[in-house]
């Protein structure tokens, strides 16, 4: 019962944080510098790892599907499979998991440290709402950067799959056939659905990580505990939300 009460309390707290943050939305234009800094930290610095991982995920997907689909004589559809899987599922989910581990943990650590070392209290006494200065630019940055990262992940995954399909002797599907299959069965909605999922995941991750960071209590040891809690909560939420958002998008 206590556990349930705590969960409901945290959900309420997170929603209140969102409401408090949205109240400061009109101040966003004059927080350009912070917004750009966050876009850089969330988006640009995540690019190398997103590129490498999505390339290899696309490659492995092509390898696995090439091996299986050969049995059905359906090798020509590898492009479709890799394309749809990356766009609808693996692209957004993988980017979200990377953002949770890389950016979410950093945000939680920074805000938790500010809380423990009374910087948040200092902001409050200076009548500078932490939601305005710390949460709003991060939420705005993730909204802009998440679709960009998801698109880059899709492209890298598709090209990884194409390379593997062409140069693996047992698959041997050339790039032209691969991309024609990819284009033939893929609708703009598939890509849009993936981007919507990425957007939802990114927004929830940043909101939850900010909430956990700002609500850290105790000493320096709690900073580590908050980071663990934020990453684990984000990963669980990504996978749970994935089911519900996918269902909503597929049958809407």
């Amino acid at each position: 019962m206590n556990f349930l009460t705590a969960i409901i309390g945290h959900i309420g707290g997170t929603l209140l944080l969102l409401v408090d943050t949205l109240k400061h939305l009109p101040t966003l234009p004059r927080q350009r510098a912070r917004f750009i800094e966050q876009c850089y930290l969330i988006g640009y610095t995540s690019l190398p790892i997103v590129t490498i991982l999505s390339f290899f995920i696309g490659s492995v997907l092509a390898l696995q599907s090439g091996y299986s689909m050969e049995n059905f004589g359906a090798k020509q559809f590898i492009g479709t499979l890799v394309g749809l899987t990356m766009a609808r599922e693996l692209g957004p989910v993988m980017v979200a998991i990377l953002i949770a581990g890389r950016v979410g943990s950093a945000i939680t650590a920074e805000l938790a440290s500010m809380k423990v070392y009374q910087e948040i209290d200092a902001l409050t006494t200076m009548n500078i709402p932490p939601e305005r200065m710390l949460v709003l630019p991060r939420l705005a940055a993730i909204i802009v950067m998440m679709p960009v990262l998801a698109i880059i992940a899709n492209l890298c995954g598709w090209y990884g799959g194409a390379l593997v399909s062409q140069y693996t002797a047992t698959i041997a599907v050339d790039s032209e056939a691969y991309f024609s299959a990819l284009k033939a069965y893929m609708k703009p909605k598939d890509i849009m659905d993936g981007l919507v999922k990425a957007e939802v995941f990114g927004f929830v991750i940043i909101l939850v990580c900010c909430y956990i960071g700002l609500n850290t209590r105790g000493g320096p040891r709690e900073i580590g505990a908050s980071v663990t809690k934020a990453v684990v909560t984000s990963l669980i939420l990504i996978l749970v939300l994935d089911y519900f958002v996918t269902k909503a998008l597929l049958f809407s």
Binding site: R30, E110, Y117, D121, A122, I128, M133
Partner: protein
Amino acid sequence: MSSSFTASPFVGKTFGVTVAHLTKTFGRTTVLKDVSLEVRPGEIFCIMGPSGSGKTVILKHMAGLETATSGEVKIGEFDAADPETRNKVHLALVFQAGALFNSLSVYDNLALYPREHRLCNEAGIRDRVMHALSILSLEKAAHKFPSDLSGGMKKRVAIARALVMEPQLLLYDEPTSELDPVMSATLTEIIATLREQTAVTSVVVTHDRDLAFAIADRIAFVMDGRIRGVGTPAEFKSPADPVIANFLNPVIDLKNPRFQQLENSHE
């Protein structure tokens, strides 16, 4: 310290603080028990007491960082717990460890308040920041980061940051803790001179007997979450209460060590 000790005149009015029947509970622990006291406008009011007696919790209630379990804290006629009060009263709290923003330089730490509240343009902000830094002889530290500063410098930067806010109520949490005697004396002089120059009401939570006796107009002694006594430094120099006398003038007795009685010394 700079000889040109001319902090800009603060926004006219300074405020007194009234704490009425303040009780604060954290979980099952009652930290403050029916605390009442009054800080008069323009005075330096020191709150003294042993560690864990609830001094800083009183200060946090004044700063609006804690909400009372019962009772109330008023700054002038405004409720300290109401966030709106911070729009009406320029209140600054100098934290024990400084609470400087580690990701910002000293200059940007000071510039944050006028920038966020759009008080003036960058040239005006620069004047204001450099003026506050010059008051505390910190001009050369302007472009350093908090991690490059000594404990004493951090506290001076924290005071400078408070000055940029042109406070009408200035709260200090253990301003001289962890400092050497010379730096403690320097900070004591800073607090007194700022009050002298600006007439700002100053509430100082401290263990430092020398600081309190040197600059306080009145002192409150807190013990186990209760006010044990309020009086002038002269009255506290020879207190009738043996508990206060023991705190202010502890005698080191190696034959009957005090630490062996600590278990029973608190409620």
